[in-house]
Symmetry: C2
Subunit: 660 residues, 2 copies
Amino acid sequence: MKEIEQLSINAIRTLSADAIQRANSGHPGLPLGAAPMAYELWANHMNHNPADPDWPNRDRFILSGGHGSMLLYSLLHLFGYGNLSMEDIKNFRQLGSPTPGHPEYGCTPGVEATTGPLGAGMGMAVGMAMAEAHLAAVFNKEDYPVVDHYTYVLGGDGCMMEGISYEAFSLAGTMGLHKLIVLYDSNRISIEGSTDLAFTEDVTARMAALGFQTLTVEDGNDLEAIAAAIEEAKKDTRHPSFITVKTQIGYGCPAKQGKASAHGEPLGADNVTALKETLGWPSKEDFFVPREVYDHFAQIARDKAETEAAWNVMFAAYCQEYPQMEELWNQYHDTSLGLEFGEDEQFWLHGDKPEATRSLSGKLLNYMTEKLPNLFGGSADLAPSNKTTMNGKGDFTKDTPEGCNIHFGVRELAMTAIGNGIGLHGGLRPYVATFFVFSDYMKPMARLSALMQVPLTYVLTHDSIGVGEDGPTHEPVEHLSMLRAIPNFHVFRPCDSVETAAAWYSAVTSRKTPTALVLTRQNLEPVHGSSREALKGGYVLADCQGTPEAILIATGSEVNLALKAKDVLEAEGRKIRVVSMPCMEVFEEQTREYRESVLPRSVRKRVVVEAGSDFGWGSYTGLDGACVTMNGFGASGPASQLFEHFGFTVDHVVETVRSL
Amino acid sequence: MKEIEQLSINAIRTLSADAIQRANSGHPGLPLGAAPMAYELWANHMNHNPADPDWPNRDRFILSGGHGSMLLYSLLHLFGYGNLSMEDIKNFRQLGSPTPGHPEYGCTPGVEATTGPLGAGMGMAVGMAMAEAHLAAVFNKEDYPVVDHYTYVLGGDGCMMEGISYEAFSLAGTMGLHKLIVLYDSNRISIEGSTDLAFTEDVTARMAALGFQTLTVEDGNDLEAIAAAIEEAKKDTRHPSFITVKTQIGYGCPAKQGKASAHGEPLGADNVTALKETLGWPSKEDFFVPREVYDHFAQIARDKAETEAAWNVMFAAYCQEYPQMEELWNQYHDTSLGLEFGEDEQFWLHGDKPEATRSLSGKLLNYMTEKLPNLFGGSADLAPSNKTTMNGKGDFTKDTPEGCNIHFGVRELAMTAIGNGIGLHGGLRPYVATFFVFSDYMKPMARLSALMQVPLTYVLTHDSIGVGEDGPTHEPVEHLSMLRAIPNFHVFRPCDSVETAAAWYSAVTSRKTPTALVLTRQNLEPVHGSSREALKGGYVLADCQGTPEAILIATGSEVNLALKAKDVLEAEGRKIRVVSMPCMEVFEEQTREYRESVLPRSVRKRVVVEAGSDFGWGSYTGLDGACVTMNGFGASGPASQLFEHFGFTVDHVVETVRSL
């Protein structure tokens, strides 16, 4: 190893240790152990341009072990990404700094994904590699590999123990994502102690079984071995690669290296000093970086910039030779595409017969494929039920990466992470699908969509006891509440074709908010009075003369029930308003005046009708209203009997209103 | 194969096909393909007694592919379990029948677990096998193997694709759970088509890498090969076994076998007829079972009953020889144990100094181990942070199965399924633990705890922005809402030592409801006025003279904040009540009178103070109240700054009350 390389690696280590010590909080173990592989990768193998973190053809790097964030921040600082300053490093983990405890997408230039929940980065990396494979198949022409980059992901034992990484890697193996390269920081230590306690499997053999090329670096400080493994990984053009790099957690800190105590707390001032001595660091000063280290990284950054410059030249020639491809490229990268559906009458006219909203959704999806060529998604093995197949758009497989329909397999959690990864990659509009009840499995990654502001679309069908015979394991009850409670997450439960169109329109025009479409299995009668006002989240569907005595608020399959109850109540001379509320969160975003016009504060008799939990409706019903909702789990039986059994009848709604 | 065996297998097949046809709903593919292995196992290998489904030492069988429920119901009917009648079979999937669409624990004698969400059964089976291994180590004496049974689980490609099964099996391999035997119904078909689409991994090699003995039955109709594999599996006393049984989905139905269409819809009347012809079935009549088949199963059942009889004899001798073990056995199986803590003053007195509720919880847990020897649990690699280690109780490992502390590894989802499995097994009191934010990963199995009424305890620490520097990926916001929305699930967020004791007391005395303890990372000042009234879920912590002008409702770390705000407001001459609401669900279970006494309907100025989402509090604040809660995700920074930043200050609470 050259001296400057060793110095550069140790700069990463000492910066990490110093920042964590100053913050009095953080995880030094990973940066100390993994600094060599990260340095080697970023300096000598990755195509990236610190001056342009958004270059579309950059290699992606995800730190799946997000707790090791100082490893990444050190690299970003030394390479000069977004002018991440030493002051920023010193403000590690401080409120408002661009160096939060775990890497946050959108907060720090060069951070490709928010990581921290273990394994998530592995799943997102698979998504990015899928996006690359697909876009390459769509765009590349002979001599013009305009999409041609690797996706690197670095994680440790924790990431490998989580089921999400298994799910994602099994799919990556099936898809033959050969430009995915996993760096497994194998230090054999977890928080509770040696991995012998809970993780004695043969990881390499497992990854080989999943269809990965497996490589091992016996000494994580051996740059040549790391380089050789990365090159070997690149050579395999049929399989993703998995490189086990054996490291020592907390390397260089005599009192802590190889121990669980190195993982998640500052080393302590004395140990930082000892670390610097052990590493032969030239200064005792905190946050010291030798001038030659900065110069070294700057030189590399300049060289890297030339790679992008060359790509720019190639891309210009490509556009000249293939103007129609340039147009397509622009379409793929135009996030405003989809807005035109707002004025497209065909889009809003899907059916006036009884139909399930899942079926309407399927028709809308297929209608949209003409104008949105970059839709890319699929289901966790439920496409025929979710109605999420895009006809004529092909299957995305190892041999047909140009296909747009993804077969995720029964892997809801990895699917969601992959969807996020596709969204983060750019150039594509991802969607994912499963039964609504299995949104449970998606939750950790749905949260990440919201936190990262990735507008992933969730198609969630079979949305209530309307599931019928499959019974309570398959009948969502609390799932609307679960998703509605996530900040920055839109949950649409449309009642008919126009509201389903509104839901899709909202989803494909969203820039920073993921959207769930919660759809019925069963047919619904068309709703009289439904309209594009649904884009406001909630609106008056049917009104009375003057001030209403009571307001019925309903969503999805219960909207028609509310309308029928209104008829009965009006026949008694009561003044009833029916509000359709397909998306509570979007309604909350409206002006106070609008909300007041729909739900006047003075009208206190309010009844919510929804075949889900009442949890979360209290802010609409107040202390004086009531809910016709589910109070417990569902049951197995024909759907019509279940709706009756659980009180979703005109009589019960009417009686509830009368009782107020 | 003997004729009676073939006839018995085909009885399972035709019953399944007929029931699904009659219900016009269901999944015939699995029962038709897996009938031989299920028959062979239940008839010739499993120790069970249809006359006593609760025999503690029975072999456990879990149908992880729960959609194949008719396979199980056919067996239960033919063996005479709980008198499951032909009428019940005919009422398959009908409301109120003991034959719901997916197997439901507690609904049908002989059903060991609720399954349907794929992979869940695999996780629960690992839990049952862990329970067996632990109890065997605790109770068995030479010549008295009083705990000595196998756990069998049957599932297909979907179960194997789900990350939960990987997580659970990796742990099972580490633990060397050699009495776990997995039957993998490998038919290479999933709903979207061939498993080649999404699942080309070498499953056998993967399972070998996890530490399983792997066996393969090339022909799923070959009873001898199935028998040989099961016997081989039993012989391995160091590794769990994984038997791949190659089958044809929908076997025997010419139009559908081997096709995805066989999976999840009735075969159709014509195809049922064709099936019976192909199988050489002796009758065209629906629901026909030859007399000799019933006789055959009855004979087997009688033989099986003798196995239990022999065990009863042995157990009686064991009790005589080891009276202290009998006493211990009774303790382990006495679910009322724990009630005595209600009168145990020591239990309620844990600290009067500032302390984190996670730390108080750890002390309580350790205090309880003396009286509750059958506590068995641990954390997903966060025990030092969760404070869930039971001191002096040893680690549960391959070589020390008598240990009580389980190291689950970073596997929150499998951990929860395993916790459920331990609970279902009986004899133990399981608990599981992780950071509260990672309850996201647990959600699918937390729902199953609630649905199955397994009183699993969830220790969830680091419960808010009090997490501080780790930032938004580690700061729960919507998680209280998520868990509170689950039916039959208690969520306690205690404010100090006495409320933490109440939470644990509620958890260990619960019979049918799981309980989450949501605990702080940071120290909390003792709360003046807190009391065992916390067992009512919510109570008046501090009151005013006469009717309050406003009520502050707070939980956990925000209770003291509410008390301080009350002081300020009272200095202004306002009458303020403070209600502590550690468990909303338990409060809702109280009488209307009690609830009215705590929260009089007439008092409309209500302010909720909780460092979580406001979602779900509307039913307490109504339309006239307000929330001092989180409106979005957290941030990375010192906790004290975050509380200030997000408005958890006396000033803000006071201002909010004034503004009403």
